[in-house]
């Protein structure tokens, strides 16, 4: 089970493309606004500018993919067996449907792993008050009153999932 989207590969790709983008932007700027050292390139320069913009857009998309990938992998580090990652996938799908912010999602994952408010705060480098506010947002968005209800809802989903596709894992 090899993953074609290794974060490190993406990081290196983004760095290499950023390097190219700087070179191209410099070239385009020189063509469009530079002193007339050589013959102006005319319309050709606009095509170059367009291609450079496309490259920059690609870099931005790659950065988004990288961040998304790292968010997904953040809580999968210890999940070595396929059964564990299958469970994580179901949990991910449930969390997706609550439309949490990245920070809330991180907190929710810690919550599910059984960490208390103080421990979550320590893991995230936040104040406990911040984590409490994030927990409240999670309860509100998931429609649960507290941690117990939230866990029940997740277990319910997990059991439903298992009966739908018994071969999973």
């Amino acid at each position: 089970m090899t993953d074609p989207t290794k974060p490190l590969v993406l990081v290196l790709l983004i760095a290499a493309q950023a390097f190219c983008a700087v070179v191209f932007v410099g070239d385009v700027m020189a063509d469009l606004f530079g002193t007339a050292e050589q013959e102006p390139e005319g319309g050709h320069a606009y095509f170059e500018a367009l291609a450079t913009l496309a490259l920059i857009a690609a870099i931005l998309v790659e950065i988004r993919i990288l961040l998304w990938l790292l968010r997904r992998k953040a809580h999968l580090e210890q999940a070595l067996s396929t059964a564990q990652s299958a469970v994580q996938e179901v949990i991910d799908a449930e969390l997706d449907s609550w439309q949490l912010t990245p920070a809330e999602r991180d907190v929710a994952n810690f919550l599910i792993k059984g960490l208390n408010t103080g421990e979550i705060a320590a893991m995230r480098g936040s104040a406990e008050g911040t984590v409490k506010a994030q927990l409240n947002a999670i309860y509100r968005k998931s429609g649960c009153a507290n941690r117990a209800e939230l866990m029940s809802q997740l277990i319910d989903t997990l059991m439903g999932q298992r009966s739908q596709s018994p071969s999973t894992g």
Partner: protein, 178 residues
Amino acid sequence: MARFPVWDPFIRLFHWSLVLLFAANSFVIDPDSALHAPIGYAIVALIALRLVWGLIGSPYARFSSFPISQSAILSQIRDIALSRRAAHCGHSPLGSVMICNLLFCILALGGSGYLASLSGGAVFPWAEDLHEFLVAWVQFSIVIHIGAVFFESRRIGVDLIRAMMTGFKEIPRYRAKE
């Protein structure tokens, strides 16, 4: 809130002298003026001192305290992706990459400038092109560096610019890493 002494006086003096000298050579002084080369050599000398200080200086100034590590870099990007707020005392992993990039490229900038000046550029005709490319790259790097300082100051809630002036990072205790 805890005050961590991170940047020793030499590091701060080095940082802000480099800012002044680089800005002077890059934006104020005409490249053909008689001052351009001496300032360039002063910058090279500053960086040479910094490299020595990286071996014998205070703990957070040493290169051994900020090795470039893939796993640390990925974990910092993951922290950014999850808006986690753990703050590194010394250089952050991505910061290390930028510091090494800037030290190396500014040194190469000085070297290429020297080569370009030999016999009016007749000896190494490529040196001037390299010099101009490196100027653009270093300027781009500095823009990213400044942007990253503001971004990280916000993310981890530590005023990094102030830290480079006072030498102290003021980090809430629960947030300090390593």
